[in-house]
C-alpha cells in the first residue's frame, strides 16, 4: 500500500459504508489487508485492491468511479486520529493528532505503509491521549461538518464515550476559562439577537426586495449606532461635567482683557416665540448646552473627599471631538476593509459573470410571490442583458471611426454641460446666502413670516437644487451611451459632487460671513459685521439645514411620492404610470443619508448635541425610508448586489468624511475663536491649546517631537515606506503569475488523467478479450478430449 498523505479541508473522505462502528471495520479487515483495524476511532480511505480489480476487469468503465477525486464527499470526518495500541497484531500505526483551532480545520494525516514499515512503538501517552479540552474542541467542530444530523449526533456520542484525561492545574484552568467564555458568548449572542433592532422590519424588506436593498437599511442602522456612540462620548465627557460642575456660571475675566464673555451672557435675548426658536436654535436655545458658546474655558475643579481633582474642559472638548472623528474613521475603515478584501479576491482573477448569475443570482430569502416573480423577471432581464452585451461588444468592435468620434464628442459636450450646471448651482447658493443674510442684517421692520423666509432661504435653495438637478443628470446621461454599470457609477459620482460641493459653497459663504477684513483687537467682537459668538451662529445654520433636509424628506415621502404611487396604482393611464411609478433607487437614498451624516460630522464641534439630534433623525429616517420602500416603490428590475452596495456606501461615506474633516481641520488651525464665548475664547486658535500644552511638557519630549517633524526623519521614513511598497507590489505580481502557471498545470493534469484512464480501460479491455479467448480455447480443448 502506498503512503498516503492527505491534506484537505474536510479531512479524509471515506466510504459511508465503512465507517462508524468498530465492528464494521473489523469485518472489513480481511479485505483491506494494508490497513490496520483500529476499532471505532479509525476512519480510513480505501483504494482499489485485489478484490476491486476483479470488478474492474469485468467493466473498465468502473475505473473512473474509483478515482479519489470522485469519491463520495458526503461524509467528511476524521477529526482526530489516535494511536493504535496493542489491539493490532504487532503493527502500530503512528498518527499525528489533529490540532484544531476554532477556525482552522485542516488535518494532516500520515499513515505509514504497513507492509513496508513495521513500526512497533508504544504509544506516547503524554502526547496522544485525548483530554477534555481536545474532545470539547472536537465537539465544537461537529457543526461545521456536512453530515446529516443523525451522524453528527453519533459522532458526538462517540467522542463523549471515549476515555478522557482530566486536565490538571494551569491547563485545566485555561480550558475551563475557554469553555466559560464560549458559553458566555453564545448566551450573549442569544440575548443580542432578541434585542436586535428592527429585525422584523428587515426581514419583511428582505422578503420583498432582496438582500441588496436590505444592505441599505443595515447601513442606516450602522450610522444610527455610530451617532449614538458619538453622542454618548460627547455627553459623558463634555456636557455632563459642565452640568454638574459648572452650574454657577461664573464667568471669569482674564486679567488685562475686557470681560467680553460677561457682556455676551448678559445681553438681552432676541424676542421670538418659542416655536421659531426651536426650529432655528435661537433665543432661549442659544445659550444652552446645545451650542458651543455655553461651554466654559476654565479648568473645573471638584473635590473627592480630601483630594482636589481638576478637569480641563477646553482640553477635554478638543480631545473628545478628535476622538469622535477617530472613532468614525476606524469604524468606516473596518467596515470598508471587509468588503474591500472580498472585492480584491473577486477582482484578482476574472469576474465569473455567468457563474455568479446562475449560482448566486437567486436570493434565498424571498418569501413573497409578487417579489419572487419580479426577481425571476430581473434574472431574466439580466441574462438577456448579458447576452446582449456580448452582441454589443461585437458591434462596438465594428464601429466606424466616424461613429466613435461622434460619441466622444457627445460625451465631451455632456460633461461640459454637467460641469456648467454644477458651477451654476454653486453660484446660486452663494448669491442666495449673501442676499438673505444681507436682508436679515437690514434693520427695517418685517413681519415674522418674512423673517422666517429669509432665515430658511439658503437651506431651501440647497435642498431644492438637490432634488431638481439629479433629474437633469439622468436625462443627460442617456445621450452618452454607456453600459448600464457605468451609467450607475457615473450618476452616483455626479450626484455626490452636486451634494457635497453645494455643502462646500455653503461652508465658504459661512466663512465669509464670520471673518473680517480689518481686525480690531481691542473690541470684544473683531469687527462689526460678524455675530458676537460666530461658532454658535454656524451651529445654528447647520441645525437649520439639517432640520430643513429632514422635513423635506418627510414631506416628499409621505405626501408627494405617496400620492404618486397611489395614482399609479389606481389609474391605468400610461402617462400617469410614467410619472407615478417609482423604484427604490438605492444610490439616491444612500446619498441622502450620507449627506445628513456629513452635516452631523461638521456640526458636532459647534453644536455637540447635534449628534443626539442626528441619532434621533436616523431613527425616524429608518421608518421614513421603510415607508418609501414598501409602500411607494415597487421592486426594481435592477438587481442590487449586497456586496457591491456595501462597498459603494462605505466609499461615499469616506468621501463625505473627508469633506467634513477638512474644513474642521482648517478651522482648528486658522480661524480665531470668538472672544466672548466658548471653551477657546482666550486662545489665538483652537490648536493653540495643544501648543500651550505641548510647551509645558518636559524638554526631552519636545525635542523628540521636533526631531520627528524635521526632514532628517521624514525623508528616510518615506524611502523605507517606498521600499516596502515596491516589495509588496513585486510579491503581488509574482503571485498572480504563479496562479496562471498553476491553472495551466491543472488543465494539463486533467488531460493527463483523461489520457491515462483511456489507456487503462483499453488495456483492460484487451486483457478481457485475451482471457475470453483463452477460456474459449481451453473449453474447446476440453471438449475435444
Amino acid at each position: 500500500m502506498d503512503v498516503i498523505k492527505c491534506d484537505c479541508k474536510f479531512s479524509a473522505s471515506f466510504r459511508t459504508s465503512q465507517v462508524m462502528s468498530g465492528g464494521a471495520n473489523r469485518k472489513k479487515a480481511s479485505r483491506s489487508q494494508g490497513w490496520e483495524e483500529a476499532g471505532s476511532e479509525f476512519y480510513q480511505e480505501s483504494y482499489p485492491i485485489d478484490a476491486d480489480i476483479e470488478v474492474l476487469q469485468k467493466d473498465p468503465k468502473h475505473l473512473a468511479t474509483l478515482l479519489p477525486s470522485k469519491q463520495n464527499r458526503t461524509a467528511a470526518a476524521t477529526i482526530r486520529h489516535r494511536t493504535n495500541d496493542t489491539r493490532t497484531n504487532n503493527r502500530t500505526v503512528r498518527r499525528r493528532t489533529a490540532t484544531h483551532s476554532r477556525r482552522d480545520s485542516t488535518v494532516q494525516r500520515r499513515a505509514s505503509a504497513a507492509g513496508e514499515v513495521q513500526v512497533s512503538m508504544l504509544p506516547d501517552l503524554s502526547e496522544m491521549r485525548t483530554n477534555e479540552q481536545t474532545s470539547w474542541e472536537e465537539i465544537m467542530q461537529i457543526k461545521t461538518l456536512p453530515l446529516p444530523m443523525r451522524e453528527k449526533k453519533e459522532m458526538k456520542a462517540k467522542i463523549l464515550n471515549e476515555p478522557n484525561l482530566r486536565l490538571q492545574g494551569y491547563e485545566q484552568f485555561n480550558w475551563k476559562r475557554r469553555k466559560m467564555w464560549g458559553v458566555l458568548e453564545s448566551r450573549l449572542r442569544e440575548s443580542f439577537n432578541e434585542m436586535e433592532l428592527w429585525k422584523g422590519a428587515l426581514k419583511h424588506i428582505e422578503g420583498n426586495f432582496g438582500t441588496g436593498v436590505v444592505a441599505f437599511f443595515l447601513f442606516l442602522k450602522w450610522l444610527f449606532l455610530l451617532n449614538t456612540v458619538i453622542f454618548f462620548f460627547l455627553f459623558l465627557f463634555i456636557t455632563l461635567p459642565t452640568i454638574l460642575l459648572d452650574y454657577e456660571r461664573l464667568v471669569n475675566c482674564p486679567y488685562n482683557a475686557t470681560c467680553c464673555a460677561e457682556g455676551y451672557f448678559n445681553e438681552t435675548l432676541s424676542e421670538n416665540n418659542v416655536f421659531l426658536d426651536l426650529i432655528q436654535g435661537t433665543g432661549i436655545l442659544e445659550r444652552t448646552i446645545l451650542f458651543y458658546g455655553f461651554y466654559s474655558n476654565k479648568t473645573l475643579s471638584y473635590s473627592l473627599g480630601l483630594l482636589q481633582m481638576y478637569y480641563n474642559l477646553p482640553l477635554a472638548y478638543l480631545l473628545i471631538i478628535i476622538l469622535c472623528f477617530a472613532i468614525s474613521l476606524v469604524a468606516i475603515i473596518r467596515s470598508a476593509a471587509k468588503g474591500f478584501r472580498e472585492r480584491l479576491i473577486e477582482g484578482e482573477g476574472q469576474f465569473y459573470q455567468y457563474c455568479n448569475l446562475v449560482f448566486g443570482g437567486w436570493d434565498f430569502c424571498i418569501d413573497n410571490e409578487k417579489a419572487a416573480r419580479i426577481k425571476h423577471k430581473a434574472l431574466y432581464s439580466e441574462i438577456r442583458a448579458n447576452l446582449e452585451t456580448e452582441k454589443i461588444k461585437e458591434e462596438k468592435q465594428s464601429r466606424t471611426t466616424q461613429e466613435k468620434c461622434r460619441i466622444v464628442f457627445c460625451r465631451f459636450i455632456v460633461n461640459t454641460v454637467v460641469l456648467a450646471i454644477l458651477a451654476g448651482c454653486a453660484c446660486l447658493i452663494y448669491l442666495v446666502f449673501d442676499f438673505s443674510t444681507n436682508k436679515l442684517a437690514e434693520s427695517t421692520s418685517r413681519t415674522q413670516t418674512k423673517e422666517l423666509f429669509f432665515e430658511f432661504l439658503p437651506s431651501m435653495t440647497i435642498v431644492s437644487l438637490n432634488i431638481v438637478v439629479p433629474f437633469t443628470f439622468t436625462f443627460l446621461i442617456s445621450f452618452e451611451k454607456y453600459t448600464p454599470m457605468t451609467v450607475i457609477k457615473l450618476s452616483l459620482i455626479r450626484m455626490v459632487f452636486l451634494k457635497l460641493s453645494s455643502l462646500i459653497v455653503f461652508y465658504m459663504s459661512l466663512w465669509r460671513k464670520i471673518t473680517c477684513n480689518k481686525v480690531d483687537e481691542s473690541q470684544c467682537v473683531a469687527c462689526d459685521e460678524i455675530p458676537v459668538c460666530w461658532e454658535t451662529f454656524v451651529g445654528q445654520q447647520i441645525f437649520k439645514l439639517l432640520l430643513t433636509d429632514f422635513g423635506t424628506q418627510i414631506v416628499i415621502t409621505f405626501v408627494i411620492n405617496f400620492a404618486r404611487s397611489q395614482l399609479a396604482r389606481h389609474f391605468d393611464n400610461k402617462i400617469i404610470k410614467f410619472l407615478g411609478e417609482q423604484t427604490f433607487d438605492l444610490p439616491k437614498h444612500a446619498l441622502d443619508i450620507v449627506y445628513m451624516q456629513n452635516l452631523c460630522w461638521y456640526g458636532i464641534f459647534y453644536m455637540p448635541m447635534l449628534s443626539f439630534m442626528a441619532a434621533v433623525i436616523f431613527l425616524l429616517m429608518f421608518y421614513v425610508k421603510k415607508f418609501a420602500c414598501l409602500v411607494n416603490c415597487k421592486p426594481s428590475s435592477v438587481i442590487y448586489r449586497a456586496s457591491r452596495s456595501n462597498s459603494m456606501f462605505m466609499l461615499v461615506l469616506l468621501v463625505a468624511y473627508a469633506f467634513a474633516i477638512i474644513p474642521i481641520a482648517f478651522f482648528f488651525a486658522e480661524l480665531t475663536p470668538s472672544k466672548s464665548c466658548g471653551p477657546f475664547r482666550d486662545k489665538g486658535s483652537v490648536w493653540g491649546l495643544i501648543v500651550d500644552l505641548f510647551k509645558r511638557t518636559p524638554e526631552w519630549l519636545q525635542s523628540v517631537i521636533f526631531f520627528l517633524s524635521t526632514a532628517g526623519f521624514a525623508v528616510p521614513c518615506i524611502i523605507v515606506l517606498l521600499l516596502f511598497l515596491y516589495y509588496y507590489t513585486a510579491v503581488n505580481s509574482a503571485n498572480k503569475h504563479l496562479v496562471e502557471v498553476l491553472k495551466n498545470q491543472l488543465v494539463l493534469e486533467g488531460h493527463d488523467k483523461q489520457f491515462l484512464l483511456d489507456r487503462l480501460s483499453l488495456f483492460i479491455k484487451q486483457d478481457n478479450q485475451k482471457r475470453a479467448r483463452a477460456e474459449q480455447n481451453g473449453g474447446r480443448g476440453d471438449a475435444n478430449t
Binding site: 461538518l145 430569502c365 410571490e369 456586496s643
Partner: protein, 192 residues
C-alpha cells in the same frame, strides 16, 4: 415545574445546540414553524425517535413553508436534506437545512450543500443538463428563454468554471468559482 409543556429535553437541546448553529430560542422557533406545516402529524412534544421518524411529505413542506415556497430550487433542497432522498423532511432534517442556511454557517458548509443542490442528477458533477435545469428554474414564470440562449449560457458557465477540460464542473472547480462570487454568501441564506 408545574404544567409547563417541555418540547425537548435538556439533553436534546444540548445535542441540537452542538450540532447546529442555533441557540435554544431559535431551535424552538424552528420547531414552531415545522409544526405549523402539519399540526396533525407533528406532536407538541418531540420524543427522541420522533424527531427522526415523523416526516412531512414533500408537497406540504413546499406549499406551506413560505421560505421554501417561492424558491425555484425547493424540490431539490428538500431532496438533498431528506434522509430518504425523496424530499420528505423530518424535524432533524429541517433543523439541518435551516442551520446550513443560517448566517453563522461558515462558507465551506454552504458551498458543499450548494454543490449538492445544483447537482440535479447526483453524479458528483455539475454537468450541462444540471445547468440547463437550473437556468430553466431561475427564469420560470417569465418569457421563456429559447433553447439556444440557454445553451449559450450553459456553455459560458462551463467555459468560465471548467479548468480540467472535462466539460463539467467538479466540486473543486465549483468551490473555486463560488469563492469568487461575492454574492453567494449573502444570497444563500434563509432567515427564520
Amino acid at each position: 415545574m408545574g404544567n409547563k409543556l417541555v418540547t425537548f429535553t435538556d439533553q436534546q437541546f444540548e445535542n441540537y445546540q452542538d450540532c447546529t448553529f442555533f441557540t435554544r430560542k431559535e431551535i424552538l422557533r424552528v420547531f414552531k414553524r415545522f409544526r405549523e406545516v402539519r399540526p396533525d402529524l407533528v406532536p407538541k412534544q418531540m420524543k427522541k425517535n420522533q424527531a427522526v421518524s415523523v416526516r412531512i411529505p414533500l408537497e406540504d413542506s413546499i406549499e406551506k413553508l413560505p421560505e421554501l415556497h417561492e424558491n425555484p430550487f425547493k424540490k431539490r433542497i428538500c431532496e438533498v436534506f431528506s434522509r430518504d432522498g425523496k424530499g420528505n423532511l423530518s424535524f432533524e432534517d429541517f433543523l439541518d437545512l435551516l442551520s446550513v442556511f443560517s448566517e453563522q454557517a461558515p462558507r465551506d458548509i454552504k458551498v458543499f450543500y450548494a454543490f449538492r443542490i445544483y447537482d440535479f442528477d447526483g453524479d458528483q458533477h455539475i454537468g450541462q443538463e444540471d445547468l440547463d435545469q437550473a437556468v430553466l428554474l431561475l427564469t420560470k414564470h417569465t418569457q421563456e428563454l429559447t433553447p439556444e440562449d440557454r445553451q449559450q449560457i450553459v456553455e459560458k458557465v462551463i467555459e468560465e468554471g471548467d479548468v480540467d477540460g472535462d466539460g463539467k464542473l467538479s466540486y473543486m472547480e465549483f468551490e473555486h468559482v463560488i469563492l469568487r462570487a461575492p454574492e453567494f454568501l449573502s444570497t444563500f441564506h434563509i432567515r427564520i
